[in-house]
């Protein structure tokens, strides 16, 4: 038993950086991410009997973490009004640094995505899971994951497309027109 818990400890330690990366990308906030990781580790430790030896420990931990995250989201959604709309207009009105599509723009856009689309994109596009593995983690069909990834990419492209004219060097007057136009079309 001791050697088993010791090897579990080692395995968990090795996967913590990955879990944190997943959690931060999901919730966009390092402190909340670390709370999610902590809860995941506690649950994993206490429910080790439900882990099937020989299967993918990393995927199992990701599953626990995302389930924790989504049930928390549901709880929060009941408590607080959904503020996605205001976040989306922030993104459009304040396009960030001039001249390139910067990391802040990207992070904000990622946070505005619906959580299920963000999750699918991270699992497949950053964490290196296959569509099949991602589907198992999110307990949905492979086709659902594929369509979430596609919708996430399309939405990011649309949101960050605002930044694209700047890549080709418009002057600030053109940029102001773009900003105004996007701002007013968001309001209407």
């Amino acid at each position: 038993m001791n050697s088993q818990s010791s090897s579990l400890k080692q395995a968990l330690l090795g996967l913590i950086p990955n879990l944190r990366a997943f959690a931060v990308s999901l919730c966009g906030d390092i402190e909340r991410a670390d709370d999610l990781v902590q809860e995941t580790l506690l649950k994993a430790w206490d429910h080790l009997e439900s882990f099937q030896e020989g299967t993918n420990l990393r995927a199992w931990l990701f599953t626990i973490l995302r389930n924790t995250y989504f049930s928390e989201c549901r709880r929060r959604r009941r408590e607080v009004e959904d503020r996605d709309g205001s976040k989306a207009s922030d993104l459009a009105v304040h396009p960030g640094q001039q001249g390139h599509l910067d990391m802040q723009d990207f992070r904000r856009a990622l946070n505005v995505l619906p959580p299920d689309q963000r999750e699918a994109l991270i699992l497949v596009g950053a964490a290196g899971f296959s569509y099949e593995e991602a589907a198992a983690i999110s307990s949905c069909a492979v086709g659902t994951i594929k369509s979430r990834v596609n919708r996430a990419r399309a939405k990011l492209t649309e949101m960050l497309g605002v930044a694209t004219p700047r890549e080709f060097g418009p002057d600030s007057a053109t940029e102001a027109i773009v900003a105004r136009t996007v701002g007013s079309s968001r309001q209407s």
Partner: protein, 110 residues
């Protein structure tokens, strides 16, 4: 198992390559900005009612939509992986090491 550790692809050298790619992109954008080859054309063309569509990639300066989308997609992919690997490369915070030690100690007492 090797395949499952996909995240370890995103190790330090990869991140460095990423950064230098972004530098390159920045530089090439800056030099484009100086020339502004698209600007006169796009400004004159786009006055008036077409403004509402300015943010659509298909509408940009006559550049084929597919090309823009692909380069934007590639950039989005790099940024997504960068967000992930930035954190994945950080050392394990002390709180988690202590937590696991406490869990292990509890197990041993049973």
């Amino acid at each position: 198992m090797a395949e499952k550790d996909g995240s370890t692809h995103l190790s330090a050298p990869a991140a460095e390559a990423e950064t230098s790619q972004q530098e390159e992109l920045k530089q090439s954008r800056q030099s484009m900005g100086q020339n502004k080859p698209y600007l006169a054309h796009s400004k004159n063309d786009r006055e008036g009612g077409a403004n509402a569509d300015r943010s659509r990639p298909s509408d940009l300066c006559g550049t084929p939509r597919g090309m823009l989308d692909r380069s934007l997609q590639a950039q989005l992919g790099r940024q997504l992986r960068a967000i992930f690997s930035d954190v994945a490369q950080e050392p394990v915070p002390e709180r988690f090491i202590k937590l696991l030690e406490a869990l292990e100690a509890r197990e041993k007492r049973r």
